[in-house]
């Protein structure tokens, strides 16, 4: 049977941004409470001690399950970086004729030389072809799902955040793959998107919550939605950001800090 749609299917970002008329009002008050709660929780851990070296928390610090060192899987790491580069190129409407070569060219321009790029250069023809084919497949899934990006949505890629907490003893770092929307509108409109080459799991959900919390602390504005998209499965998970979600992210962050900190 052939079925025809009345309207074209929604792109990834259209579905994340949702119906504008149904967006909640911008929340500017929760951030201060969350920061105060975080500082209280951290104070309860070590009081007024000042560390020589601050603890650094990243989204990966919140992962559960057996830890896998990325250095032992450089191919997977390279694939992830190249898919991220693909997202950056797509965000500015660049045509992707040869996704692997284009992403590699963009990456090389960005970082110059590093160990991972040197690793790519040492790959033999067969390994390189395999990597190019994997990147091509992931890029195609991403390009098909993403659709065109509206210029007025203020798309930002690789948005970094760094927050000092607990009297400077903890540095919370984060990087969101794609952010759209503005913190200056009267209704919440910022949507965060994390793109991963792995299937979505519980850890992806923790990362989504972490991104929402860190962006709330950074901008003092609660985002509208936090999402994760897997280029391996084409699956999209999306959550509306509310105080309950942020509170849960806060608990997970404190738990991660507890795991990193060893009283001596």
């Amino acid at each position: 049977m052939t079925s025809l749609l009345d309207t074209p299917p929604l792109g990834l970002l259209d579905s994340i941004r949702g119906n504008r008329a149904k967006r909640p009002r911008r929340d500017l008050t929760s951030a201060a409470g969350l920061r105060a709660t975080l500082d209280d929780e951290l104070f309860a851990l070590w009081g007024d001690a000042v560390f020589d070296t601050p603890l650094v928390v990243r989204a990966s610090s919140l992962r559960r399950g057996p830890a896998t060192a990325l250095s032992t899987h450089p191919l997977a790491q390279v694939r992830g970086v190249l898919v991220h580069q693909t997202l950056r190129l797509l965000s500015v409407g660049a045509p992707l004729e040869r996704p692997f070569d284009d992403a590699l060219g963009a990456w090389r321009c960005e970082v110059g030389n590093n160990d991972l790029l040197a690793f790519v250069d040492t790959l033999d023809a067969e390994e390189r072809a395999r990597l190019a084919s994997a990147v091509g497949a992931h890029a195609q899934t991403l390009a098909r799902a993403l659709g065109p990006l509206g210029g007025r949505w203020l798309p930002r890629t690789g948005v970094r955040a760094s927050q000092r907490l607990g009297g400077g003893n903890v540095i919370v770092r984060d990087a969101v793959d794609l952010m759209v929307g503005s913190t200056t509108t009267s209704e919440a409109s910022v949507a965060l998107l994390d793109v991963t080459t792995a299937p979505l799991d519980e850890n992806a959900e923790r990362s989504m919550r972490y991104h929402a919390l860190v962006q709330t602390l950074r901008t003092t504005t609660v985002p509208l939605r936090t999402s994760a998209f897997s280029t391996a499965t084409g699956e999209l998970w999306s959550h509306d950001v509310d105080v309950a979600l942020l509170r849960r992210a806060l608990d997970e962050l404190v738990e991660a800090v507890r795991g990193l900190w060893s009283p001596s």
């Binding site: 190129l89 992403a103 963009a106 090389r108 321009c109 210029g151 901008t219």
Partner: protein, 267 residues
């Protein structure tokens, strides 16, 4: 006593610090300029030196060798694009594409020097140029976010503030991105990546001092605002005489440290 105001970067925070800028600022006289000049002359050098807030923050360490990269281009492109966005009401991406196209045309017409941004852009492949565009898009969008809530008249700074210290082979550079007409005079805003370090205050004071020196009447901005969007932090210093003195002192100290560094490298 010097000033240093710290604020979290809420959407209205920048407008608030502009609105609450002090009513008056100190004025640098000719005597101040002569005094500063003699202090720089006392730190002898055989080559020209350029000092800025970055060097003040890094204890006089000279800059690394400059090389263009998407991150290095973003500020230049974003400020130019923001000017276009304001003037022609175009989108961020369109403004940046126009700006890059204009640079490429300039390079093709032979109006750009070797090593300039325009000439570097011509050497790039299409994906690499798209990476430049993506980086600049993110930075410009961030600037649009920052400037949207400003209720005072503002403009994008055409260039950084420069001041050549007389007979001291020294030029001072003050970084500035936005110039706002505050209620009691101009307020300068500079936007930086990363997070402010312990010496961010001295860096701001150095920029404030250069801003006052480049003014014909020696009048500094009433408030100098440093904005670190990644850290969500605003730091401000006011145009008081104590802040100007501290800024000048740090610039001279950087010149001393710079000379020590050069001497140790030569040895």
């Amino acid at each position: 006593m010097t000033t240093l105001l710290h604020r979290r970067c809420s959407p209205s925070a920048l407008d608030e610090v502009i609105a609450t800028a002090p009513e008056s600022s100190a004025i640098l006289s000719e005597a101040h300029r002569h005094s500063l000049s003699s202090r720089f002359r006392a730190v002898a050098t055989t080559e020209h030196r350029a000092i800025d807030a970055w060097m003040v923050e890094h204890g006089g360490r000279p800059h690394d060798v400059f090389a263009w990269s998407p991150a290095m281009t973003r500020r230049t492109l974003a400020n130019a694009a923001l000017r276009r966005v304001r003037a022609h009401d175009v989108g961020v991406l369109d403004a940046l594409k126009e700006e890059i196209d204009e640079l490429l045309v300039r390079a093709a017409a032979g109006y750009s020097r070797s090593g300039s941004l325009a000439s570097w852009l011509t050497q790039l492949s299409s994906p690499a140029r798209a990476a430049v565009l993506a980086e600049a898009t993110s930075w410009t969008s961030q600037l649009v976010e920052i400037t949207t809530p400003i209720t005072h008249a503002w403009s994008v700074a055409v260039a950084d503030a420069h001041y050549d210290v007389a007979q001291a082979r020294t030029s001072l550079r003050g970084r500035r991105d936005l110039i706002v007409e505050g209620p009691h005079g101009r307020v300068v805003v500079r936007v930086r990546g990363g997070a402010p370090g312990k010496s961010a205050g001295p860096g701001l004071r150095a920029d404030l001092t250069v801003d006052a020196l480049r003014d014909l009447e020696g009048r500094p901005s009433t408030r100098y605002v440093g904005l670190w969007p990644e850290a969500g932090v605003l730091l401000c210093v006011d145009g008081t005489m104590d802040d100007l003195r501290a800024g000048a002192r740090d610039l001279v100290r950087s010149a001393v440290a710079w000379r020590r560094h050069r001497v140790s490298v030569a040895a």
